[in-house]
């Protein structure tokens, strides 16, 4: 079986190399057969990598402890659910997993477009196969997952581990979300290769028209959606698993996942400039390139351990390969851009509507400022070591200080931008559009201040959150009122109709609203409270409105772990409210202890209780309780963001135009005839996804 897996990987590598070479040959010689053959090779990579992944999973499920990777990341008692997840628990497996997801994307792209864009697809195939080749090189020659333990008489640590049937999966990963979080993040990382391939292909092939930008946008949204889910699940995992009462530590690997997400967000906004106005083409192409390179950088930071991190369970000196690949990617991108830069010339200049275009420029500016600040902080220790010879630390407070103002400014733009952008921005229109949201924001500020929201950033965040929500609501309401008055439907039906007619715009608003909820959740942070106390049976601690009384401690054991558990009764304002069971688990295979946090969650606040273990000094059980306001809003906001993205990906509902009396019909024709420009614009809107 390991032979089969290795062999499949090697064949996949050859197929990918062939797809690159034959693809280039096909483009140069313009022979359809060669191009077709390259495409088939590209699709074959998917089958071969799938076989390899299947082999590795087979080893996990059959507990084959002759394979090093299985020994290191599994054990017999590991539940099947986690055996599946052990695929990406270590270096070799994660890289194989990367390859596999990329091959899935490549297969889908090549298969779905096999009869479309004959001018563009050969280039796309070559770029995707090129990226695939890099990862298959790693899979085959640098970090192969199919390494077999030395012969039966071999001694050493690995042999001993084999005798004891596997080290077991890192307990940190034995949590349901850990089975979903890495695949989502990886689907995001790999997904950004597709828009990258399309952008580079269009540039290399000087593909005429704007079709490719629509395709690119769609794929970017898909990747962006996965990346958002991945980041939020990661945050939730950190919250529910690590037991420190936080969800985001500005850890280098967390930052790495945030970077392409930010540039992807910037692209999804500025792409509208290109679609509508034919502007900012150079900028957009570079945003896509940068996003892809940040994905590779992110994978590198995760895998290589250049910067120390809690994700250090999967590192090695693989970094130089990634650096090499990054340099090659940059050179190729730059060369393609330099050679074809005239292809990216803007069609339009800025005319009267200054505000629309400049709102996008500001949006991009702020997003990239955030991206730069995060990247700078993440890499500064490396830079400092390089320049001064001594390492320094750049911790969470730095990132918070730098990024919170940027984020708040972005939130402000979220409210202002769409209204400035889509309306004539006369002073009257400004007054009309912003009067209510502004008043609502100010009112919230006053109420919040009186109510005790004294942290300036939190208060600002709350004010802006209400402001943005009201602007979004007014957009929905205004549009729906027009439809309902015309069709005679009620306002909510009209809102549904409105949304389905232009899913992208209103889906976008839903995403914005989701982000507002996330922001409000984050704004609760300055009001966190925590208390650590040694507690025997019958003792209690008070935090906020809660009194936590320690009832019992018990102990139980199963094949995978043994557990110490506290039973705590929680009283809220004197009344018994609930029981919480924080746990500590000692995993047999790895001999590592893990805390299982007990959380009582409500929209207003979470009560978060950790059984920290026995005090090293007194031997008494220590309970650490946290009171964390508004956390639940973050997760809820995340769900709204994902739903909004799904909505924006739906095709627009084509509405039968309800025409007014017959004379009106000739109107549309007359306009189209008299003004080809408007007619063309109208057609473009129709043809637009």
């Amino acid at each position: 079986m390991d032979i089969l897996g290795s062999f499949a990987l090697l064949l996949a590598f050859l197929a990918a190399v062939y797809a690159v070479l034959a693809g280039i040959a096909g483009i140069l010689t313009r022979r359809t057969l060669v191009t077709k053959s390259a495409r088939n090779a590209g699709m074959a990579v998917f089958v071969l990598v799938t076989v390899a992944v299947g082999c590795l999973e087979y080893f996990f499920f059959t507990n084959d402890f002759s394979i090093v990777y299985v020994v290191e990341h599994s054990n017999r008692a590991l539940p099947g659910f986690y055996k599946f997840a052990a695929l990406w628990a270590g270096q070799e497996g994660s890289l194989l997993f990367w390859s596999w997801l990329l091959s899935i994307y490549a297969f889908l792209v090549l298969f779905l477009n096999r009869k479309r864009h004959p001018e563009l697809m050969p280039y796309v195939g070559v770029v995707l196969a090129g990226v695939q080749t890099f990862f298959l090189t790693l899979n085959n020659f640098v970090a192969t997952p199919f390494r077999v333990l030395a012969g039966p008489d071999g001694a050493g640590v690995m042999h001993l581990a084999k005798m004891s049937e596997g080290h077991g999966l890192t307990p940190l990963l034995q949590y349901p979300e850990m089975v979903i979080h890495p695949p989502m993040l990886y689907l995001g990382y790999t997904g950004f290769s597709v828009p990258f391939a399309f952008a580079l292909a269009a540039l290399l092939g000087r593909y005429p028209g704007e079709k490719w930008i629509h395709i690119t946008r769609r794929w970017t949204m898909i990747a962006w959606c996965f990346q958002s889910i991945g980041i939020l699940l990661g945050a939730h995992w950190a919250y529910a698993m690590l037991g420190w009462g936080g969800y985001w530590a500005w850890d280098p690997v967390e930052n790495a996942s945030l970077l392409p997400w930010i540039t992807g967000t910037a692209f999804l906004h500025s792409v509208m400039m290109q679609e509508k106005r034919g502007m900012m083409k150079v900028w957009n192409v570079w945003l896509v390139f940068t996003t892809f390179m940040l994905c590779i950088l992110g994978t590198m930071l995760t895998r290589s351990g250049v910067v120390s991190s809690v994700h250090a369970f999967a590192q090695s000196s693989i970094g130089s390969w990634f650096v090499g690949f990054l340099i090659i990617t940059f050179v190729v991108c730059f060369a393609a851009y330099w050679k074809n830069r005239d292809y990216l010339r803007s069609d339009n200049q800025l005319d009267s509507l200054v505000s629309r275009e400049s709102s996008f420029l500001f949006n991009n500016l702020i997003l990239l400022a955030a991206c730069f600040a995060v990247l700078w902080g993440t890499l500064f220790p490396v830079l400092s070591e390089w320049v001064q010879g001594s390492k320094i630390s750049v911790g969470a407070p730095f990132f918070n200080k730098v990024n919170v103002p940027i984020a708040l400014f972005l939130l402000l733009l979220t409210g202002v931008g769409p209204l400035l952008a889509w309306r004539k921005t006369s002073f009257d229109a400004l007054k009309r559009n912003f009067a209510w949201p502004f008043a609502g924001g100010v009112l919230t500020g006053i109420i919040g201040f009186v109510w005790g929201f004294r942290d300036i950033y939190s208060l600002l965040c709350l004010i802006l959150g209400v402001f943005v929500t009201l602007t979004i609501a007014s957009e929905f309401f205004r549009g729906a009122r027009v439809i309902s008055s015309r069709d005679g439907t009620n306002i909510f039906t009209a809102m549904g109709e409105l949304t389905m007619r232009n899913t992208r715009r209103y889906g976008g608003y839903v995403i914005h609203f989701g982000m507002v909820l996330v922001f409000i959740g984050v704004a609760g942070t300055p009001f966190n409270k925590d208390l650590q106390k040694e507690m025997g049976v019958g003792e209690s601690l008070r935090i906020g409105p809660y009194t936590v009384l320690c009832q019992t401690f018990d102990h139980f054991d199963n094949a995978n772990y043994e557990s110490d558990r506290a039973t705590l009764e929680v009283f809220k304002i004197g009344k018994s409210d609930m029981l919480l069971f924080p746990e500590r688990r000692l995993f047999h295979a790895s001999q590592v202890t893990e805390t299982m946090v007990a959380i009582q969650s409500s929209p207003l606040r979470d009560l978060y209780v950790v059984y920290a273990g026995r005090s090293p000094e007194s031997g008494k059980p220590v309970i650490h309780a946290y009171l964390l306001p508004l956390i639940k809003w973050i997760w809820f906001g995340g769900i709204v963001v994902v739903l909004g993205t799904g909505l924006a990906l739906l095709p627009n509902r084509r509405t039968a135009l309800v025409l007014r009396p017959a004379t009106e019909r000739s109107w549309a024709d007359a306009i189209a005839e008299a003004t080809p420009a408007i007619g063309a614009a109208a057609r473009r809107v129709e043809g637009h996804d």
Partner: protein, 197 residues
């Protein structure tokens, strides 16, 4: 005189009426039992009584500005937490650092002095944030300077676009003003189908 006396008297009465309550409240009973349990553990195990870090708010805020130097975590001393360890709370190093900070604070040193002392003891990595001097100042300047430079560039781009726009009039045949006005009116009536998104 009598007035003052009566006030004193009433105060005394109040205090008296409070005392029995507090003496026999649930919490005082609990507190008492904690003491008994603690005493019992001391007597039975002979261990030192647990000394929770008596941190002042200032020491607590300082403990969040220095990293725990145990090498096993990336947290600040104030938030140190070892999820995979035998005890998921501040480790020995972190607690030693917290006590150290307490001592510095009680000696009446300023925040800067204390942080400087920590740097001398543990090296520059002990600070959670890069210091705002020398090369490390760049860490702080760049996230502000780069967006500002970019802002200037964006401004320049917008200005140039505008200039070009005034130089080059919009192409295409001239549009009948009446048509245009009506088209705009029509477009305004159906926000869901506007050209823009």
């Amino acid at each position: 005189m009598t007035k003052i006396f009566s006030i004193r008297k009433s105060k005394r009465i109040q205090m008296k009426s409070l005392c029995p309550q507090s003496r026999f409240s649930v919490f005082s009973v609990l507190r008492f039992s904690v003491r008994v349990v603690a005493l019992a553990t001391i007597l039975t195990t002979g261990a030192m009584s647990p000394t929770p870090a008596q941190e002042t708010p200032r020491a607590k805020s300082l403990s969040k500005r220095v990293l725990c130097m145990c090498g096993g975590c990336e947290d600040s001393a104030g938030l140190c937490n070892h999820p995979g360890g035998t005890f998921s709370g501040p480790c020995e190093t972190a607690r030693a650092m917290q006590k150290d900070l307490d001592a510095h604070v009680t000696r009446g040193e300023s925040d800067d002095q204390i942080l400087q002392a920590m740097v001398e003891q543990y090296g520059p990595t002990v600070l959670v944030e890069p210091p705002k001097k020398g090369f490390d100042l760049l860490a702080w300047i760049m996230p502000i300077a780069v967006p500002l430079i970019a802002l200037v560039l964006v401004w320049e781009v917008v200005r140039r676009w505008r200039q070009k726009a005034t130089l080059a009039p919009a192409g295409g045949p001239p549009i009948n003003a009446e048509f245009l006005a009506r088209a705009q009116r029509e477009a305004g009536r159906e926000p869901g189908r506007e050209n823009d998104e």
